[in-house]
Symmetry: C2
Subunit: 327 residues, 2 copies
């Protein structure tokens, strides 16, 4: 694909166009993915998650500056609807971010929200791959860690940083929201606020209590991202986590699991797409749908009918056979 | 099914057992659903959603009291991990709720969180149906309106009440989280706090601005649930929304869409379950999976291979044919 070739040669506009296609989940996506797969580079992907208002985008902003100082390139995916990267915050934030907008070594992409619900697009994983193939050294994904979809996306990253602020109740909410289980590194941001020390101590105790595994002790760090306090240390911990993942073989294992999941999801998608097209066009199947809608048959019995061999199966195989020759 | 029969005769223990099965998504679920489908009653389902700390469970608690006073029965599903119904809140809350625990006309069920992530179980829709078949007049579903899954569950309810509190930034967050689009009724709870009047006015303006449809004007109500202020009025608005849905034919239409969705989801589930079982047991398919994991083939090309007619299709039809005779 020409667009992919141009992107691989470093053309930012092509990259942006490809992202839009992947984001919209267009028909070209499998072809794009096949084309970029051999070019997936060495990008390391860091997820920054936490409740709204924790200062995640400031952390991303400051981390980017540190990584750039090391001469490495950065791709930023803001999948947080309240992020200043996506345009969700006050003007001051947006102005701060502009230093990176002017830096050629930084590519910033805010994800459109899925449907009208403001949920995270499932296609974020594909966008990470595009930035990877484009040659970025680091990919930072900013997301609000709340729903299942958001947490699923975190399975595409290598290191997950959970950002909290010293406010009452935060810890309990964090536990409940499942953030505790995905955290590789905890950051207590806005650490100049009252209660920060307590939250750090509390998190350290919690980490200590549940860390039965000895390969990685989740660090709890205090930062004031807005004042650049603690950011280099955070960068150091991310690097340390990466090394540990590599040395213990866990990075390889994680990548294998990611590929496996991608395969399963692709097969699932294609099979169900095919099915729904069938249900829409096959007369007999359409009748079942109408009966379900009218409440004349329950959805489960209708599914039995539709999946009976001789009906859907036959129709399906026939249609597939029409499209390409059996090999 | 005996358990279903007993549940339909009013046995609470059987109901609880069935809910557990549905919640765990056991193999019996399609059979249970088929058995209860003809018994789906006249239950009206109200979703109570909003950010954590808005007082949703207090609203549910007080609404329940009002509905009970009308001689109607209530089923409560708490799918909010921070709800006192699920045990997520302070002791005081839980004691308050106990009045309903002792009332035979109220059935309370807290949903276990899905996986380890604390996300809402997709099976909530099935649990609503069980409470419906059991004969409850009202079903109240309490959930935190944040992720996509949570919002999907709201498609199973008839009236959605969005509960907010007068705190800065809430409105914007609400917009972003997609709560604005699903609200049939807005409640500004803790209305004795400063800023409540402003929030009410702001919401009213927003409602007014975007209400192109004239069939329902989303009301904005101020409540102090803890002091029982505004709860009867809220109940009145829910009733009014219900009547409007019925008179305009929208309730019928919504129910049709729900059945349609249920059918599609059931078919999708069964087809993919079948597929994954195949991939696991079929030698040729297993080899593809291994190659994907090792990175020797990209997931998309592997999916092409697996879905080629003559491989999976053939194997699948063969297996389906073995299980039951073709009709």
């Amino acid at each position: 694909m020409e667009l992919v070739d141009e992107m691989l040669r470093g053309d930012v506009l092509s990259l942006a166009r490809l992202i839009t296609t992947v984001e919209r989940d267009g028909a070209d996506v499998p072809r794009i993915m096949k084309a970029i797969y051999p070019h997936l580079g060495k990008a390391y992907c860091v997820g920054i998650t936490g409740p709204p208002g924790a200062g995640k985008s400031t952390v991303v902003d400051r981390l980017t500056a540190v990584i750039r100082q090391q001469g490495l390139t950065v791709g930023i995916i803001a999948a947080d609807p309240t992020s200043p990267f996506t345009g969700g915050a006050v003007l001051g934030d947006r102005i701060r971010m502009q230093q990176h907008y002017l830096d050629e070594g930084v590519f910033i992409r805010s994800m459109a929200t899925r449907g009208s619900h403001g949920g995270l697009p499932r296609t974020t994983g594909g966008v990470i791959k595009l930035l990877n193939a484009f040659g970025k050294d680091f990919i930072l994904v900013e997301t609000v860690g709340v729903g299942q979809t958001e947490l699923d996306i975190m399975e595409n990253v290598d290191t997950t940083v959970v950002v909290l602020v010293p406010e009452a109740g935060d810890t309990i909410q964090t536990m409940k929201a499942g953030l505790f289980e995905i955290a590789d590194i905890f950051v207590v941001n806005k650490a100049d606020r009252p209660g920060a020390d307590n939250l750090v101590t509390e998190l350290q105790m919690m980490v200590h209590l549940r860390c039965e595994e000895s390969w990685w002790q989740v660090p709890v760090m205090a930062t004031e991202a807005i004042n650049n306090v603690g950011i280099e240390e955070l960068c150091g911990q991310i690097e340390k986590h990466r090394q540990t993942l590599e040395e213990t073989g866990r990075l390889t294992q994680r990548r294998q699991e990611q590929r496996r999941r991608e395969f399963m999801e692709t097969v699932e998608r294609r099979v169900t797409d095919e099915l729904f097209r069938l249900i829409k066009h096959d007369e007999e199947l359409g009748q079942h749908m109408a009966m379900v809608e009218a409440g004349e048959i329950d959805p489960y019995s209708a599914a039995d009918e539709v999946l009976r061999p001789g009906t859907l199966m036959a129709s399906w195989s026939r249609q597939l056979a029409k499209r390409r020759p059996t090999s």
